[in-house]
């Protein structure tokens, strides 16, 4: 297992390198240089000051050199300075990351909480009408735009502010109960699509497992239906579901960007949007890098969990084909 983990960790290096290349060079495609954008907000500069600014913004050096300089600073934890506030980018991102992560984890938890029981339920009653109804419900769950759901939630609960507090955000450390209350609706809006995916996978996986001989044996030796379903069938059916949930966690993080905006939550997504509206490219680059890295790490973690539970994967040389 140790060798497998090391191998998978090493395989991250080229991917993250590729990510950094894309993030760096895409931003270079923007018409108008960072210096011009910066100057747009500033007063006149003397020729000597212009020379100095050109050096700071790297307009006197070729692009590949700038990339290597940038990469070097990144590896030292220096993500550059915001063009608008003048503050270093990384601390600003770091202070907003916990909220986005909390949202993502709560959304994942809610998706599992809703999706798995619903999927088990859907696999049991196999009458044609219920089958159809469950399928349509699952597809409907996939079809709801998160931001619309979020807006409707804000609308529906605007009359009941006491139950679901909105407005000034309270961190988990300051008041755990109120914090969770506040994040309940946003994370539900983010997680409902994944709940539908999980429901569909759980159902299909359960249907496959329930046909197997060992289930018939368990029933035949007199175990109750409940025990067979929850202990014997679910245990084997849950594996692909966990994988799917893991690989989708990164998408929840993407969804958090939009939902934070709707619920006015001060997370990383809101920071990203303001940076985009204000063309603050160092901040955008930083956030995209952080989210992509998290996304890749979560996927790796999912692979590792899978390998831990199912030893056959490790023997398969770890190839993702």
């Amino acid at each position: 297992m140790g060798r497998y983990i090391a191998k998978r960790l090493l395989s991250l290096i080229p991917v993250l390198f590729g990510v950094s290349v894309i993030v760096f060079f895409l931003v270079r495609l923007i018409p108008g240089s960072a210096l011009q954008m910066y100057m747009g907000t500033q007063v006149e500069a003397s020729p000597a000051q212009m020379e100095e600014l050109k050096r700071i913004f790297g307009e006197d050096r070729p692009v590949p050199v700038l990339y290597l300089e940038w990469l070097g600073r990144l590896l030292q934890g220096d993500f550059g300075v915001s063009l608008r506030t003048g503050r270093p980018v990384l601390p600003d991102i770091a202070s907003r990351l916990p909220l986005s992560l909390e949202l993502t984890l709560m959304a994942l938890f809610l998706a599992l909480l809703i999706g798995i029981p619903q999927g088990i339920f859907a696999s049991l009653g196999r009458r044609p009408f219920w089958d159809l109804a469950n399928r349509v419900i699952g597809l409907l769950g996939l079809s709801l735009p998160q931001f619309w759901l979020a807006a409707l939630m804000v609308l529906a609960f605007s009359g009941f502010r006491g139950w679901i507090p909105m407005g000034n955000f309270v961190s988990f450390a300051a008041n755990p109960l109120r914090n969770i209350q506040m994040l309940l609706l946003p994370s539900l809006a983010i997680g409902i699509g994944l709940a539908a995916v999980i429901m569909r996978y759980t159902r299909n996986s359960m249907l496959e497992v329930l046909q197997m001989d060992y289930i018939r044996t368990a029933r035949a030796k007199g175990l109750t239906r409940r025990v067979v379903i929850l202990r014997h069938a679910l245990k084997n059916a849950i594996l692909p579901v966990i994988t799917v949930a893991g690989f989708n966690t990164g998408y929840l993080l993407g969804g958090a960007i939009v939902i934070e905006e709707v619920f006015a939550l001060p997370g990383m997504g809101r920071l990203a949007l303001y940076a985009i509206y204000q063309r603050d490219y160092p901040v955008i680059q930083g956030i995209v890098l952080v989210i992509a890295t998290l996304f890749v790490l979560v996927n790796l973690l999912t692979d590792l969990i899978y390998a831990l539970v199912d030893p056959r994967i490790r023997l398969d040389s770890g190839g993702k084909h």
Binding site: L152, R200, Y251, I276, Y277, I291
Partner: protein, 278 residues
């Protein structure tokens, strides 16, 4: 035959019917709309839906008819989704089948590129590309198309790998057929099933991505209506006029559901083996 199986599959049929309804609405919108979707009408601000006034879905904060704006917006949503899916699928399939067919170094580098593109959550990648290219409608096509490239590349590569060892491929090669000929004449037609299903599901996600981008102000720009930017401006007034938020959202949900039903049903019809995959 697929056609008769389509007729028997109620899921696919329902999806097809929904999509057809939207296509009909678009055709109608090209020649006729109940009201002008862009012109401001100060005398009918935020009117509730009613038959008497002719505003079936009500009016928005500028007095514009919401039904007319939804109809007008359906064209831009559908055109963007179809173009983006076309872009992503053509590029992705091309990458995938070459990687799968040639193998070796080509396969390695093409799939590493796909891995890198896969390292961004789709919405984040689309937002990032829009931030770089600027908020113009045709840029939305690029932003969403890029998201789809690695997906189609992986699916078509996987499909090619499963049929490459087949006898008919060896037969074609031993009778002197060139690589391009084998690829496009023999292999591509045989991997169309997973691709068709993926196209239908991609269309549904493209609608959601486009509306999310427009909702954030990064997609279709007002005053031209799109479902996403209608919902964005509805946020300011929805507490007093909920219909401004409800109907454009329903327009999104039903079209996306239509594509999802179609894709799910097509999967049953075209390939029973795929039935339990998702």
């Amino acid at each position: 035959m697929p056609a008769t199986r389509l007729a028997k599959n109620s899921i696919a049929l329902a999806g097809l019917a929904i999509v057809a309804l939207y296509l009909l609405a678009i055709l109608v919108s090209l020649v006729w709309l109940p009201f002008d979707p862009v012109k401001i009408d100060a005398e009918h601000l935020l009117e509730a839906p009613s038959l008497a006034s002719g505003h079936l879905f009500g009016t928005d904060e500028f007095g514009r008819d919401i039904l007319s704006r939804i109809m007008k917006g359906s064209l831009v949503s559908l055109v963007i989704s179809i173009s983006a899916t076309a872009l992503g699928s053509v590029v992705g399939i091309f990458m995938g089948i070459w990687a799968g067919y040639l193998g070796g170094r080509w396969d390695h580098w093409i799939m590493r590129l796909a891995d890198v593109l896969f390292s961004f959550p789709s919405l984040l990648l689309a937002i990032f590309v829009m931030a770089v290219l600027g908020e113009r409608t045709y840029n939305v096509v690029f932003a969403i198309g890029i998201v789809y490239i690695p997906q189609f590349a992986r699916i078509s590569r996987g499909a090619i790998l499963t049929i490459k060892p087949a006898e008919f491929v060896k037969a074609a090669r031993s009778s002197g057929a060139g690589s391009a000929y084998i690829l496009f004449r023999h292999l591509l037609p045989n991997i169309l099933v997973p691709i068709i299903v993926q196209i239908s599901l991609s269309l549904s996600v493209a609608i959601l991505l486009e509306s999310s981008l427009s909702f954030l102000g990064l997609g279709v720009q007002p005053p031209y209506p799109s479902w996403g930017n209608m919902l964005s401006s509805a946020r300011k007034v929805m507490v007093i006029a909920p219909w401004t938020a409800v109907y454009p959202g329903l327009a999104i949900v039903f079209l996306v559901l239509g594509f999802n039903l179609l894709g799910d049903g097509l999967r049953d019809i075209l390939d029973p083996r795929l039935k339990n995959v998702k």
